[in-house]
Amino acid sequence: MDLDNNAVLSDADLASEQGNETAKVLQELGEIREELFILKDLFVRRLHDDKQKSQMIHTLDEGARFAFIEPFLTDLILVLDRLEKKDDDFARSVYEEIYDILHRRGVERINVTEGFNPALYNAVKSNDNPEIASVAVTGIVRNGYTLSGRVIRAAEVIVDRPVTK
């Protein structure tokens, strides 16, 4: 259709042109929305990935620190064992002092109760006892210790075990 300078669009033509513009805008909006979804999805995945990596780094870091300090602690625990064997006030006080230093850094002596817990105790000796129905701890051979919840040395215990017929 040829138009001169002063021609105006008819209503129909205008509507048609406006419709095309709208469709174009809508299409572009649609594309932008799709791109946004993709970016959002990527962002969420990256966040999740970062979280996982952060957890892994934390675990590796903890593992590395434990691996570094564990040999030192096991040596020190052997010194504590010897101090425990000496029944005098000086030895006891040195034991308590060293233990306190370690305790402030996350080392705990394992609390031994009657029920046998293989996660924390190591049964090094056993006696048969026909009067019991389940394994019971009756004595401690060597104390056990944990560092931030991880076992450095399990408590070495003596157990009574039921007699099976």
């Binding site: 593992g63 052997l78 010897r82 049964a123 051979v141 060597r142 157990v159």
Partner: protein, 527 residues
């Protein structure tokens, strides 16, 4: 996305699992935070459905004394054996074969690894075995994996796995001797490594020689010095014995770094100071080191190799950290010993590297020679093929009759041990009598000519036409990478086949038994 394949070192005393990702082989720790899991199973009881409940690993070890009848250790030594004598009866009354016990260990190791890689994702594995493991034991290991619900793509030699870690890390080539001195066993392997190709040439070992033997030497020195200082050691004193054992092991480790160690003991209120020099320890351990030297030389001599033929010396196993090992090897080989691979985890890492070259849907995944492209990591920037061939760990032969004395039987080797596999070899034998109509083929495992010292692993009787005596018959053995033996007998008069058979693997579980075992192990809880 391709499924991950994991490498497992299923050890006699400890096991480990690793995966190759981000260009490195990473050991996956267990739930206790340790890289190794003791290969120990303890049956704690029975659940309300009658299924066994068990502990595996350090907690199983800790529980051993509470019920010694319920603990199973060192099961690897029993793999490949069948019969009641080798089975373990659990509290439920169910019988567990060595394969089933190993399956429980594998389940634990894989389950713990899933805390890092996702539940249910440890399915496809490569498992390592000692180089001297025979046909029955390798198949038993594979069956253990299957019973554990795993897809075992390959079973490879431990020294091979360690050498893979060495080869990929450094891209070196030449003849490599792998000296593996672990906690309880000693292995020697000679391999050819060349740009990703791995060829095992020879193997040897001693299953009763390892780090614990050296610990015992230190204990002897400690006890001797305590006695010299007037101390009477009560070996019923559990605390003292535990103290001596622990300090002996620490002393051994210390002497790898310092010349003198000074463990101290307090016994009955008195203090005893022990002094052990590295020189004293090495002198006490001389016989142990000589044992390893003799085994090394045997393996070299068998292949007419000398130290000048060996390009690289690889030491594996924690016990190789002792300076006396480095000293011995450098003295007898004239080569420098370097610690390029972490000796404690090399096997699992190498298995993981090898596993990364496989795909679960590759038709060649179970083939004898695997030619797969693998990118050897950003460090090298080279695409290499990983080709592994293996050797027979035992000679295979047939029982024949002494031609000069028909009452005497002799073992005739057809495939010598340390032959590269897959392989096909044959031996022509002759009929003994006129009109002989049957030939009995008894397949043996072992090097000796005396039948008393070899093991018959399978036999078959085949019919043949009645020929005059001294008629030739060819016995052909074909041996594949999983060490399955195929036998064919050829009538050389007519050049026709008299028949074929596979080895009747009486020392392995049948398919039915494996299926039943899977059911039992599946329902057993493992903590």
């Amino acid at each position: 996305m391709a499924e991950k394949i994991f490498g497992i070192d299923l050890g006699t005393t400890n096991s480990a699992i690793a995966v190759f990702e981000n260009d490195e082989a990473r050991i996956l720790k267990n739930i206790d935070g340790d890289e190794i899991t003791p290969s120990v199973v303890f049956f704690t009881g029975v659940d309300s459905d009658g299924n066994d409940e068990s502990l595996v690993g350090i907690q199983a070890k800790n529980s051993a004394a509470t019920a010694p009848d319920n603990i199973v250790q060192f099961v690897k030594r029993l793999m490949g054996n069948q019969g009641d004598a080798y089975n373990f009866k659990a509290p439920s009354g169910k019988e567990y074969t060595p394969e089933m016990i190993s399956a429980l260990i594998l389940r634990k190791v894989c389950k713990d690894a899933e805390q890092y890689v996702g539940d249910g994702s440890v399915k496809n594995v490569v498992i390592t075995v000692p180089a001297y493991f025979d046909d029955a034991r390798r198949i038993a290991t594979k069956q253990a994996g299957k019973i554990a619900g795993l897809n075992v793509l390959r079973v490879i030699n431990e020294p091979t796995a360690a050498a893979i870690a060495f080869g990929l890390d450094t891209n070196e080539s030449g003849k490599v001797l792998v000296y593996d001195l672990g906690g309880g066993t000693f292995d020697v392997t000679i391999m050819d490594i060349n740009g990703g190709n791995f060829d095992v040439i020879a193997t040897g070992g001693d299953s009763q020689l390892g780090g614990i033997n050296f610990d015992q030497k230190i204990i002897s020195i400690i006890l001797r010095q305590l006695q010299e200082q007037g101390c009477t050691v009560d070996d019923e004193d559990d605390a003292l014995m535990a103290d001596i054992r622990e300090k002996a092991e620490k002393t051994k480790l210390q002497l790898s770094n310092v010349e003198t160690a000074r463990p101290v003991f307090t016994i009955n209120g008195s203090t005893y100071r022990i002094e052990i020099t590295r020189e004293t320890f090495e002198k006490e351990s001389e016989t142990l080191m000589q044992r390893t030297q003799l085994l090394l030389e045997d393996v070299l001599n068998e292949k007419n190799l000398g130290w000048s033929d060996i390009n690289h010396l690889l030491v594996v196993g924690g016990s190789t950290r002792m300076p006396m090992v480095k000293k011995l090897l450098e003295r007898i080989s004239g080569k420098e010993v370097t610690y390029k691979v972490d000796p404690d985890t090399a096997v699992a890492q190498g298995a993981a590297i090898f596993a990364s070259t496989l795909t679960t849907d590759s038709p060649d995944a179970d083939a004898g020679m695997i030619n797969l492209d693998v990118t050897a990591g950003e460090r090298s920037g080279v695409t290499a093929s990983l080709v592994i061939s293996d050797v027979t760990s035992q000679s295979l032969g047939v029982i024949t009759v002494d031609p000069n004395d028909h009452s005497r039987k002799i073992n005739t080797v057809i495939i010598p041990h340390n032959t590269k596999i897959p392989t096909k070899k044959s031996e022509v034998v002759y009929t003994v009598y006129d009109n002989q109509t049957e030939i009995k083929v008894e397949v043996t495992e072992g090097n000796d000519a005396d039948v008393e010292y070899v093991r018959v692993i399978g036999s078959s009787i085949l019919s043949m036409p009645p020929y005059p005596k001294d008629s030739p018959v060819e016995i052909i053995y074909a041996y594949d990478p999983d060490q399955t033996i195929y036998i064919e007998v050829i009538d050389k008069v007519t050049n026709s086949s008299l028949g074929t058979f596979e080895i009747d693997r009486a020392s392995n579980l049948s398919d039915e038994e494996v299926k039943n075992a899977m059911g039992v192990v599946k329902h057993a809880t493992v903590d």
